[in-house]
Subunit: 225 residues, 2 copies
């Protein structure tokens, strides 16, 4: 059974957990706090990031790009379509939106929210900086406008079929939703998509997550939110 070093609210870890669940692969989860830079973690990954996938007798697979490619190569079903579309132009659109979420959305929204609400509190009991959260909130509203625009004309983020890009966006939005930062009321198209992806069996594992001392926002685990 693969072991995954992760953090419950780390979106890249969530993306990998969704892939495991979607492909029916039980994974042994080991939670770490990357920001504490424990020697145990640094020995495996000097960048002190998660996810890290470990299979017995093999060197660890380190980082989100390495892990998501490894899961796809090892565990994607061959009989039915996996999370990488078969057609080159569909794959290109998946990579475009995966990059949008993993880099741009992360860079403008998620990393700040997690730093302010989780890392600062855990590291030194500090409260979030309202100015930073305000900027992240405004940025998220812009991103949601774009996602709403996409979902108004397509069933899934990258087109007609569900892809890894959907899981990436669901991973990020679910972390933000846990912390109460997604205003679904003003984003009906994205909400409609999120309701669909949230009701997939693969999503259940995320909905059961609870971070000690940081209760989930109302509606986080509800399929009818």
């Amino acid at each position: 059974m693969p072991r995954l070093l992760h953090h419950k609210l780390d979106p890249a870890s969530r993306l990998c957990r969704l892939m495991f669940a979607e492909y029916g692969v039980p994974a042994d989860l080991e939670e770490v706090k990357p920001w504490t830079r424990e020697s145990h973690l640094l020995e495996i990954n000097p960048a002190a990031t998660v996810p890290i996938m470990i299979e017995s007798g093999e060197p660890p697979i380190v980082g989100m790009l390495a892990v998501l490619h490894a899961i796809e190569e090892r565990y994607a079903p061959t009989a039915v379509a996996g999370l990488f579309p078969a057609q080159p132009r569909d794959r290109a659109e998946m990579w475009r939106l995966l990059e949008w979420v993993l880099l741009k959305l992360n860079d403008e929204v998620t990393r700040y929210v997690l730093e302010e609400k989780i890392v600062k509190r855990d590291q030194r009991g500090a409260t979030p900086d309202p100015g930073v959260l305000r900027v992240a909130k405004a940025n998220l509203a812009e991103h949601l406008l774009y996602f709403n625009w996409l979902f108004a004309t397509r069933q899934w983020l990258a087109g007609a079929t569900m892809t890894l890009a959907d899981f990436a966006l669901a991973a990020h939005l679910s972390s933000l939703d846990y912390l109460g930062d997604v205003h679904w009321d003003t984003s009906p198209e994205t909400r409609h998509w999120y309701a669909r992806i949230k009701s997939r069996p693969a999503f259940r594992t995320l909905l059961n997550d609870r971070v000690p001392g940081m209760p989930a926002a109302a509606g986080y685990a509800d399929l009818d939110f």
Copy 2:
């Protein structure tokens, strides 16, 4: 012939240009300044980033992840090894270091140097903030320590063979080197590796680049630097 929308000092664009050159694919280069957010660019890519690859009769391929996968899928030679290693564990190490360079090095060094030295000057004739450059410089020194440590025990960044991770690091360091920000004297192992990759025919196109009003630092184009 594929067309590539790029910026001369954008490392992600340089990575794609190195791939094209290594695979012997002539590409038609069209330079854009992503930070001006021209409507021409925004129509193709609302994220206003490069690289973007355009082949006639097909939808544009947008963003570094989409373009690098598309180049690899379309143009990698099948007879000899391409830039993606054949063995899963070697590929995992390539992805780990590719992520290190494209995300971490970019995030802690390259993006700040380019923003301060290129974007600010072009947008409003402003001079770089010395405080920001100082932090970027200190961060780069830390990264070079790690790369030196790796290159002390391996021929190429991700192991025994040259991979996409080498091109990614070469793309970033060459942009920084153009701007005079790499102190090779204190990084003999990385310098030794860079001399090898710099002398590849694929690298020539980058060494001829000149940004108007921003001359290349001494040694930028020298194979013996």
